[in-house]
């Protein structure tokens, strides 16, 4: 089976995000970069599928040179080879341009199933997997927490508000992974050593015949609105007294209960 997993390098969840003085972007100095946590679920599912059915896992990523580290991480987890699409024309890519780049690269290789994270935790767009499926003209199931493959039959479970929906479709398709799908493995030391020798193809926008131009542009970044200082409730210093004061404030001052 030919399995593709798309990954993105993003700031670690513990990273503080500082906006540049002119609002043109975020300060990247000091940020620890990691594989997008939702992509880890996709890579893990890809590896599990390969272990069960045989085949190869190809990692595809769009990002600057530093994203190579994330591609290598996925290779160290057990994927066979990688494609890194690194071109300055894509550094301000929106979801559509990113999906276009991924689609162009994936069209050049055999694929039966493609995994993406349900969203990247940096821009939080939650669009790339679905656009990729549209551009390739194949079905998609997003936010998947459970996946079964039988021959070419696909059964995927996705949570919605207050329910879970079981979707049936067929290969080839795009699956976007969310938490609950699996527990991603850690790369082993031998895995890390082997990953260094695995092939990674570096592509430019021109190689793929794409412009990289974004349709949606972030014209201004801003820090979140500051919250007014809060108050610590002391009351008569008993838990009951504090609870009564809190209830009163929520009712009379905040008017939210």
């Amino acid at each position: 089976m030919n399995i593709v997993a798309c990954v993105k390098q993003v700031p670690d969840t513990e990273a503080q995000i500082k906006v540049k003085g002119d609002g043109s972007g975020i300060e990247e100095g000091g940020i620890k970069w990691v594989m997008n946590p939702y992509d880890e679920f996709g890579v893990e599912e890809a590896l599990k599928l390969k272990e069960k059915l045989g085949g190869e896992v190809t990692i595809v990523s769009v990002g600057p040179a530093r994203a190579m580290e994330t591609v290598r991480t996925a290779l160290a987890m057990g994927a066979e080879k990688g494609i890194l699409i690194d071109d300055p024309a894509l550094y301000n890519a929106d979801a559509y341009a990113t999906a276009e780049a991924l689609a162009a690269a994936i069209k050049g290789i055999p694929y039966d199933i493609i995994f993406c994270g349900q969203r990247a935790i940096d821009d939080d767009s939650a669009q790339v997997g679905a656009i990729l499926a549209e551009l390739l003209g194949i079905p998609q199931v997003t936010f998947v927490t459970k996946l079964e493959i039988n021959g070419t039959a696909v059964k995927a479970t996705r949570p919605i508000e207050g329910a879970s929906v079981v979707i049936e479709t067929s290969l080839p398709c795009v699956i976007t992974a969310t938490k609950g799908l699996n527990e991603p493995r850690y790369a082993s030391l031998p895995g890390i050593m082997k990953a260094k020798k695995k092939p990674v193809d570096i592509k430019k926008a021109a190689d793929l015949g794409i412009s990289g131009a974004a349709k949606a542009k972030v014209v201004k970044f801003a820090p979140p609105p500051a919250r007014p200082p809060g108050k610590i409730i002391c009351a008569d210093d008993t838990p009951e007294g504090k609870a009564a004061e809190l209830a009163k404030l929520l009712r009379e001052e905040a008017k939210v209960i």
């Binding site: 049936e168 349709k215 610590i232 905040a254």
Partner: protein, 325 residues
């Protein structure tokens, strides 16, 4: 020339979802700023009767596709039907809900319409005749202002953030043929497994009572459930609590869970890891109960109680009972 502000109305189980009225009211505001009309697209089976209700919230025209293939919702059928009517009418702006269904449908439409979209917006306005969408990024650690160079300019709106305003308009029903080719539909719904009835999802709750590591175990959540039931609230959880297996993943609030904006967020036994704070800092009011006075959550809380939550929460439940009596 692209013209008009459109919404995709969301319905489930025979009724429009509340977020559809939030979309309609917001679209009305944008359309008034542009001097244009508001239209809604409504897809499903037996949905025509719901169309009139959209008129109450400022919708001039409702494009209805009533077809058995559109029920229950599947991405490919709905995206194909909506893309068709949108292409035929060329609206300037298209708004969807950033609900579970909207988050699935909207990027498929982006692909079909070859346009750009701002996801999960908390504010939208018109500036110089164009849509400006404001959205949290990095789970709310910063905000971005997005403009879109292609039509329709698409945005999905975070549920529960936009105000519903009544504004009676015609809500004229225009039926359209979704043009579905059964052979081209590749996905179908095999089963819908409903969770316990009455459970409110954290992404749609007005009030969230949330617990973290300080709950000490799954049984600790009983007191939160009790308070939540009284307030009509959802029960949320931190990543620590979900990873420990105390609560389902669907309850997780934070950067690797759901990003929420309720009117009131009550954080119990949550220290306030940065990835959790990112997911709930846009709540209107935050109350925190934690015995550690140094917990970072207190820096974001409007009201802080430094004490044992296992004593404060039951006492708070009693007080709320008295107030609501």
């Amino acid at each position: 020339m692209a013209k008009g502000v459109w919404i995709v109305a969301e319905q489930r189980d025979g009724a429009l979802r509340k977020v559809s009225f939030e979309l309609a009211s917001t679209a009305r505001k944008l359309a008034d700023a542009l001097g244009e009309e508001v239209a809604a697209v409504l897809c499903g089976a037996g949905v025509e009767a719901m169309a009139a209700e959209l008129g109450k919230y400022g919708v001039d025209k409702v494009y209805v596709a009533d077809n058995p293939a559109l029920e229950p919702y599947t991405t490919d059928a709905h995206a194909a039907a909506i893309a068709k009517v949108v292409k035929e009418n060329d609206p300037a702006i298209l708004l969807l809900a950033a609900s579970a269904q909207g988050k699935d449908l909207s990027p498929a439409l982006v692909g079909k319409l070859a346009t750009g979209m701002a996801t999960d917006c908390t504010d939208v306005k018109i500036d110089g005749g164009k849509l400006v969408a404001v959205r949290p990024m990095y789970a709310g650690k910063c905000f971005g202002e997005v403009v879109i160079d292609t039509f329709p300019q698409m945005a999905s709106l975070r549920p529960n953030v936009f105000t519903i305003v009544e504004c009676a308009k015609a809500g004229e029903v225009v039926k359209f043929d979704p043009g579905l080719d059964a052979a081209a539909l590749k996905t179908k719904v095999a089963e819908i497994q409903k969770e316990a009835s009455g459970k409110i999802d954290v992404s749609e709750a007005n009030i969230i009572v949330s617990g973290g590591r300080g709950m000490k175990g799954p049984e600790g959540y009983g007191i939160l459930e009790e308070l939540a039931a009284l307030l009509g609230a959802a029960v949320g959880a931190s990543r620590a609590a979900v990873d420990a297996g105390w609560r389902p993943q669907s309850d997780q609030v934070g950067q690797t869970g759901k990003v929420v904006s309720p009117n009131l967020y009550i954080a119990c036994g949550i220290s306030g890891a940065i990835q959790h704070l990112a997911g709930m800092s846009s709540s209107k009011y935050i109350a925190a109960i934690n015995k550690d006075p140094e917990a970072p959550i207190f820096a974001r809380a409007d009201y802080g109680v430094v004490d044992d939550l296992f004593k404060v929460v039951p006492a708070l439940t009693q007080e709320v009972k008295k107030l609501l009596a």
